[in-house]
Every structure is written in structure tokens, then in C-alpha cells.
């Protein structure tokens, strides 16, 4: 369903999303017109969902990022939905994932410093509903980012 040309375009676009259609076409080895048409088709079919600006939070004073691995009390009906709804109200939560495994939910939480994190943790995180257990992993450094797919 996906042609080699589509793959080449996506690979190049993934490496540099800000590329102009002309530059993208050249790198992917197609003409600008073909490139534009294929991108439009990838967008229409939902394969290419969009582009998002990446914010570097430390530049805004958020120097602490913590990954919270949470298990929920599954005897409670709607534990997942109620937990996620409440977590959505915390502005410092930048990512939420649900899992099949030992961990039920993971939150990425930003804080200005450790004192701010401690305040957030006590007043906003521990008060979230249906928590059974929490483990925290503090981010020291990001070695590989980008989340590109191996196309």
C-alpha cells in the first residue's frame, strides 16, 4: 500500500520536518509535483497526522522531568478513566500512557526544581484517584530522542 517513494519521502520528512517541498522532493528523488501529491495523499489517508513544535522546557525554567510509573486499584470501576481525567488537569503533566504489563499508567511530569517537584508530587500527584503504587524515575539525560520510525 505504501510505495518506495512514499517511504523515502516520510523518511526524509521525519529527519527534517521543516524541509520545503522542493528540498524534500530532491532528497527523496522525486519531482516537487509528485512529492506534493504524495504528501497530500499520506495526509488524507491519516498516515501523516501532522507536525508539532518541540518545546525545550529547560529554556522556560523547567529543569526537572520525572517519569512516574503508576499501578492503579483495578477493583475500582473506571479507575483508568477517572485517573486520566484528573491527571489531565495538571498542567505540568506533558505525557500520559497506558500499558499492558506491570505498570498501568505512566506520566511525564515537569517541575522547575526539586522543591517545586516535591510540592507538585504532594499536592497534585498523590491526590490523584485510585493509585495503588507509584515509582519515580528521574530523567538525567536524553541520549536518543525524536521517536522516528525505522521506515
Amino acid at each position: 500500500m505504501l510505495s518506495d517513494a512514499d517511504r523515502r519521502i516520510l523518511r526524509q520528512l521525519q529527519a527534517d520536518p521543516a524541509l520545503s517541498t522542493a528540498d524534500l522532493a530532491e532528497r527523496a528523488g522525486t519531482t516537487p509535483a509528485t512529492c506534493a501529491r504524495r504528501i497530500e495523499r499520506l495526509r488524507a489517508s491519516g498516515i501523516l497526522k501532522g507536525q508539532h513544535a518541540v518545546v525545550h522546557w529547560p529554556a522556560l525554567g523547567y529543569h526537572v522531568e520525572v517519569s512516574l510509573r503508576i499501578t492503579l486499584d483495578k477493583t475500582q470501576r473506571n479507575a483508568f478513566d477517572e485517573f486520566l481525567d484528573a491527571a489531565r488537569d495538571i498542567p505540568e503533566v506533558v505525557e500520559m500512557q497506558t500499558f499492558l504489563g506491570r505498570v498501568d499508567v505512566r506520566l511525564s511530569v515537569l517541575a522547575r526544581d526539586m522543591a517545586h517537584y516535591q510540592t507538585l508530587y504532594r499536592s497534585r500527584i498523590l491526590t490523584l484517584p485510585h493509585i495503588n503504587d507509584i515509582e519515580a524515575l528521574m530523567l538525567l539525560s536524553s541520549i536518543k530522542t525524536g521517536q522516528g520510525l525505522p521506515l
Binding site: 508539532h52 513544535a53 541520549i143 521517536q147
Partner: protein, 152 residues
Amino acid sequence: MIDLDATDRSILAALEKDATQSAGALGRHLGLGQSSVWRRIRRLEQAGVLVGRRLSLDPEALGFGVTVFLGVKLATRGRVSLEDFERAVSAIPEVQTVQHVLGLYDYRLRVVARDLADFERVLRRRIMTLPGVGDVEANVLLSEERRPGPLG
């Protein structure tokens, strides 16, 4: 570190949602001139706040049906070189992100695979053979949501 006003925050939030919007379109939406939006975006880039774009693709439509988060503990902490481990794990194409963390595990990995059988192949042949790898915990991603962050 730069101070943001409400307009800067609106611009950041709008670009987080859709980075392809032009300064003109953003300006019309926010009731600002194109050049004023453009100047603000430039300032946010120069201050290191806006650092690029991320492409959002539908992994399943592209044949990647499984995403797994791995917690990895190094077996021989202190004796194995962190650099060697980081270099080797970053070179695996299926590994999308690598984070050095403090806590129960030493590293967090995000791994994508075609299906569970393909994931098992990646885990056995590429992850478990990494230098110094010890205890590994896998959690299969079911759903994911990104939030705009503290811009309000």
C-alpha cells in the same frame, strides 16, 4: 531563561498543536500582525524554547503494530562503560528513545516493532545482547496522549 507573556504562550500552544501554521495565519487567529508573530517566533527560537518539529505518523498504518517501553538495569554498574551501552543501544533502529534515568532502572527505552513476534526478535537479538544489560522490564503501550504542558 526568558519570560513569556500570554501572547507568547498562545503562540507556543498553537505551534505545539500544528507547527505548519504560517505567521500570517497565527496572527489572524490571535489578532496580531504577521511580522509581530514572526518576531516573537524568532525570539522563542533564539532563546532555545522552540527547538524544532516532530512529525506525527500513524505507526500502525506503517506496519508498526507494537510499541514497548523498557526499563533496563545495567548488570555490572561501574564496570561497564555507560558510553558503550548508550552508543550500542542508540544504534538499534527500532529503539526510538533512550533516556538515562535515576531510580529503579538505569535507562528507559521506547521500542517499536511490527508485532509481538518482531518485538521478541528485537529484545532477544539486540537488547539482551547489549554490553552490560541486566534486568529488563517490558510494558506494552496501549494508549498515549501528549499534553501542551505548563503554558497556561
